[in-house]
Symmetry: C2
Subunit: 236 residues, 2 copies
Amino acid sequence: MARQAKYEELRQELLAEMAGSAPHTPLPTEREISARHGVSRNTVRQALDALETSGSVYRVQGAGTFVAPPVVSKSLALTSFSEDMRERDLVPASRLLAAETVRAGRQIAERLGIAPDAEVVRVSRLRLADGSPMCLENVHLPADRVPGLAREDLSGSLYALLTERYGLQIRSAEQVVRAVDLDETESALLGVPVGVSGLRVQRVGLDRRDTPVEATTTLYRADRYDIRFTVRRSRP
Amino acid sequence: MARQAKYEELRQELLAEMAGSAPHTPLPTEREISARHGVSRNTVRQALDALETSGSVYRVQGAGTFVAPPVVSKSLALTSFSEDMRERDLVPASRLLAAETVRAGRQIAERLGIAPDAEVVRVSRLRLADGSPMCLENVHLPADRVPGLAREDLSGSLYALLTERYGLQIRSAEQVVRAVDLDETESALLGVPVGVSGLRVQRVGLDRRDTPVEATTTLYRADRYDIRFTVRRSRP
DNA sequence: TAGTGGTCTAGACCACCAT
DNA sequence: TGGTGGTCTAGACCACTAC
C-alpha cells in the first residue's frame, strides 16, 4: 500500500487551516510551520509549492506567504469529462453513438504515432450535463492495445475502463483548442441552431512514457462551455 | 545584480546536451549528473523538475529520466502578443484603434476588483501577424495606476511599458477561453466574413500580490489561431 | 537590521522497475 | 536483487522586504 507523502498530508492540513481566512492573510513562516508540524523546511516548501501551483497561496520573497484571493480559475489539469462536469456542479451522462474498429487514416495515425492502415477503435459519444447535450466526443485508440473494447460497457468513464481493464494510465495530454463553425449534423446532435460556433478540443493522451494512447476530438457547445485556467510568467 | 541560480544554469546545460538525442534516450542518473556537475542531487532535481514541467523530459520511477518525444505543445505560459507571435514564427505588429479614459462599468470593475464608477484607461488595438489581422485586443487598466498612459507610445509591447514606466509587473493571469460569433464590426476589422467564429480570451493580469492590474479581452480569428498546451494528471 | 522566502548541501531511507 | 527516481532531514548562506 502506497503511504501518503508527508508534504501531501501537510498540504491538506494547511488548506483546511486557511479555509476561513481572508485573502492576503499571512500564513505562518516556513520555519514556524516546520517546527509546529515536526517536519523539515524542505517538506514545508514542497507543500507550499503545490498550494502555489494550484493558486491557493502566493509568496513574496522577503515578506511571506499569503492566502490568495479567490480566483475564477485554478491551474489546468487533465480531467475526464465526468470529473470536469462535477467540478462545475453539473451531473454528467453519456449516450453512445458508435463503437467500432476502423482503419486509422492519415490524420489519426499521425496523432497516435502509428501506421495509417493500422486498426483503431473509435468510440463516439454524446455527452450530457444535467440531462442536456454539452459536447460530442470522438475517441480513437490503437486497436491492439484495447482488444474487445467495443464490446465493453461504454456508458461511464473511459479513463477508468482503460485503467482497470487494460492497465493503461493516461498521465498527460497535449491539447489544441480552436473555435469552429458547427455543421448540420453536429448542431442537431448538440441541440443548437445551425451555423453557431463551437469550441473544438483535440487531445492526444500519453502514458507515463509519453507514448500516445488515445486521440480525442471533442466539440463543445459554445453557449454552455468555456475553459478556465491560470498561467504564470515562466522565466524572467 | 541577481546571480543565475545553479539549477537554472544546469537546466540550460542539460537542454543543450539533449539537443541531438533521440526521443526516449535515457539521461544520466540524478546521482551521476550530481557528481559530474559538482552539485547536490536536490539541485539536479530542481533542474529536472523544470525540464519535466516544460515537457522536455519525462521520468519513470525506478527506471530513469528520458528525453521526451517532440510535442506539438509545451506547457502554457503567460506571454504577450508579441512573444506569442514570435514563438509561432510570425512577425507581430499593431494598429492603435483607441486610447482613452472612461468609467469602468460593472463588468470591468468586477474583473479588476474596483468600483464601477472608478476611472480606467482603455487601450484598443488591432494586432497583426505577418502584416494581416490576427486579433482585436481591448485592455482596461485602473487609471490611478497608470497616469498618462493614453499619451504614451502604444505601438509596441504594453507589458514592457507597464514595467519600465510604471513599475507594474504582471506575474500571472486568469484566463477564460470561449468560442463566439463575430459581429459585423469585429468581422470587418479582422477581415473575415460576417458570422464566422472567433476565439475569445478574457484575461485578468495579476501582480506578485495577486492583485488585478489589467483586464483584457482578445478576439482571435478562428482560422488563424489556436491554443496549444500540455496538461498533466494532478493527484491520483 | 531583523526576518522572510530562495537556493544549496550531504547525507538517508523508501517505493518501484528491470533483470 | 541492484539501481532508479521519490521523499525527507538538518543544517547553511543568500537576496529581498519591511521597518
